[in-house]
């Protein structure tokens, strides 16, 4: 009979319509932002810099080796090395970034910086509720705005963070017995600082952070 196919299809839509009120598997809509889905652990958005302890500057793991800057496909990272040194996460004396900017309007969240970082210093955030009104002021994040504590890292990626902590603890235990040697070893690979690049980055120091994920609950 002509039209039976259409009637069958209409019966199907009716079942879906009723089901969208009654059946658990068809109720897929979530009333965002009142209601939020639980965050998937592996999800990633933009990179951040991990620090240990309470002081973001003293505890910063980044030693400004500039590998991520070189490997970043869209070249959204900009690093200047410091001239002095401070102890890194393992306890060796290392350089730290005098300047570390990420232009998150260029960043494509590919995670390659995380993969190539030998110091577990840069990780992917999963906060996505950003907004910005100023292209250069809000979307170019300096190292302070990029810093997140290790506790925050544990909060968003618990499995991965636990693995990283175990590795770091092992490295610290290895470095601990001879505290004098690593300092000399660390000094050797520190290459001469490249000629200072001209200042092409807008200053963003005084602006409040675009988003403070520490205040937000996850899930």
């Amino acid at each position: 009979m002509v039209g039976s196919g259409i009637l069958k299809g209409l019966a199907e839509t009716a079942r879906n319509f009723v089901g969208s009120y009654a059946s658990e598997e068809r109720m897929t809509t979530v009333e965002y932002p009142e209601e939020k889905l639980p965050r998937i652990e592996a999800s990633r958005n933009f990179p951040f810099l991990v620090f240990d302890g309470d002081d973001w500057h003293a505890g910063m793991r980044c030693v400004s080796c500039q590998i991520c800057e070189k490997e970043c496909p869209p070249k959204c990272i900009y690093i200047e090395k410091s001239t002095d040194k401070k102890p890194d996460a393992v306890g060796k004396l290392q350089n730290y970034p005098a300047r570390f900017d990420i232009d998150i309007s260029v960043c494509m969240s590919c995670q390659i910086c995380v993969e190539v970082c030998p110091f577990d210093a840069i990780k992917m955030d999963n906060a996505f509720e950003y907004f910005a009104t100023d292209r250069f002021g809000d979307l170019v994040l300096d190292k302070q705005k990029l810093s997140r504590s290790n506790e925050y890292y544990h909060q968003i990626h618990p499995t991965e963070a636990a693995n990283v902590d175990a590795e770091l603890a092992a490295a610290r235990a290895k470095a601990a017995p001879k505290p004098a040697a690593p300092a000399a070893a660390a000094a050797a690979p520190a290459v001469a600082k490249p000629a200072a690049a001209p200042e092409v980055t807008a200053s963003t120091a005084n602006k409040p952070a675009a988003n403070d994920p520490a205040k937000e609950s996850n899930g």
Binding site: G3, E12, T13, I40, E71, P73, C110, I112, T159
Partner: protein, 384 residues
């Protein structure tokens, strides 16, 4: 830039030889039926299409040039953005070409993970393509929303595995970036087990529908000979009755281990092309069930392959896979440096559009819309 200087008027009248007038209309680049920024210059005699010239390049970013200035690894996230519906198969094609170039062995577990992710990609691509095609026919939203409801479940799986729903950037030369997280496989099994129910519903909704049959059967016919000569690949080729599926022909990866069939069409019309997608989803489910049952433990990547400072020896290689849209090939030339000397993508979407004019001549404008819909294009890949 003078790109805007010569934009033609949206429609103009041309004088024909017989004294009547033809209407030339510019469909696109912002037309709801073109699936992106794609333009067709269509010349009409009354309602009938007498000429159709596709215009490309609105999304052109010279992907190949970017890749020649990137490291081998650095191009991987850019491949996600070719066919942004199927980033995992794009990753696989590129990884396969590099593995051929550098002679890298892929561990068994990684091969299984690749098959699982690729077939999940095929499921969600075909489901949403059928939805889009119905949308083009005027079924506003309902089939598309059903398809997207299922697609979202698969995208959640991708997010849990790779960290991103669409821009996965997951495969690496010699394996994958990370292992399956705990519990992922059980979750995926659940999603795959619930998929046939959706397919049954979808088929009840669509397959017997008289309006769909009237609109699609005998429309946009592509002959077997033209399909072969024009290099058409994927479901579109098989709808014309050519048995050519790279999963069977090349048996890349570990596809020789799974039993599945290749659906073939008979008429090469829009109806066959759309049925091809529904049937292929069933076959993908078969492969998924086998792969999820057999997946072994072991390393997920080749430990000998370096992530950084990857320099293949000089030479060239062409690697191709059966992406959901057709044969996706990557042609690489290495000169021993960290960047490829030449990097070429063979985009199935673009080459499948070669015959768009041939399929549309003599039909009317509404048929052009669904013929284009049945080709399955993504402009990120067409324009690169």
């Amino acid at each position: 830039m003078s790109a805007t200087a010569t934009l033609p008027p949206a429609a103009m009248l041309l004088d024909s030889e017989e004294g009547s007038q033809y209407l030339e209309i510019s469909m696109g680049p912002h037309h709801p039926s073109t699936h992106g920024v794609f333009r067709m210059n269509v010349v009409l005699d009354g309602e009938t299409v007498i000429k159709l010239k596709p215009v490309f390049g609105y999304l052109h970013r010279n992907h190949e040039k970017i890749a020649e200035n990137e490291t081998y690894l650095g191009s991987m996230p850019y491949t996600d953005r070719l066919d942004y519906f199927c980033s995992l198969t794009n990753n696989w094609g590129y990884a396969l070409a590099v593995e051929k170039l550098a002679g890298i062995e892929v561990p068994e577990r990684a091969e299984y993970i690749r098959v699982i992710t690729a077939e999940l990609t095929r499921l969600q691509n075909h489901a949403s393509l059928v939805g889009f095609l119905m949308q083009d026919m005027g079924a506003s939203g309902t089939p598309l929303m059903y398809a997207f409801r299922e697609r979202e479940k698969i995208l959640d799986l991708f997010e849990a595995l790779t960290g991103a729903r669409m821009m996965c950037n997951y495969m690496r030369f010699g394996g994958c970036r990370c292992d399956l997280p705990a519990g992922w496989l059980d979750w995926a099994k659940k999603v795959v087990a619930s998929f046939p129910k959706f397919l049954d519903e979808f088929e009840t909704l669509l397959v017997g529908n008289e309006i769909i049959m009237a609109r699609t059967q005998g429309v946009g016919v592509l002959s077997r000979e033209l399909a072969i000569s024009a290099g058409i690949t994927g479901p579109m080729l098989r709808a014309s009755g050519v048995n050519y599926d790279l999963r069977k022909v090349d048996k890349y990866g570990i596809y020789d281990r799974f039993s599945f069939r290749v659906p073939l069409g008979d008429h090469g019309d829009v109806y066959d092309r759309y049925m091809m997608r529904l049937l292929e989803m069933r076959e993908s489910l078969k492969i998924l069930e086998q792969a999820m049952k057999d997946i072994p433990e072991g390393p997920f990547t080749d430990p000998k392959t370096k992530v950084r400072n990857f320099r293949p020896k000089p030479g060239e290689a062409y690697g191709r896979i059966e992406a959901p849209k057709g044969e996706l090939g990557y042609y690489l030339i290495s000169d021993g440096s960290p960047n490829p000397y030449r990097y070429r993508v063979r985009p199935p979407s673009l080459i499948n559009l070669t015959v768009l004019e041939d399929m549309c001549l003599g039909r009317n404008v509404a048929d052009v819309v669904i013929t284009l819909g049945s080709v399955d294009i993504v402009l990120g890949e067409v324009d690169r």
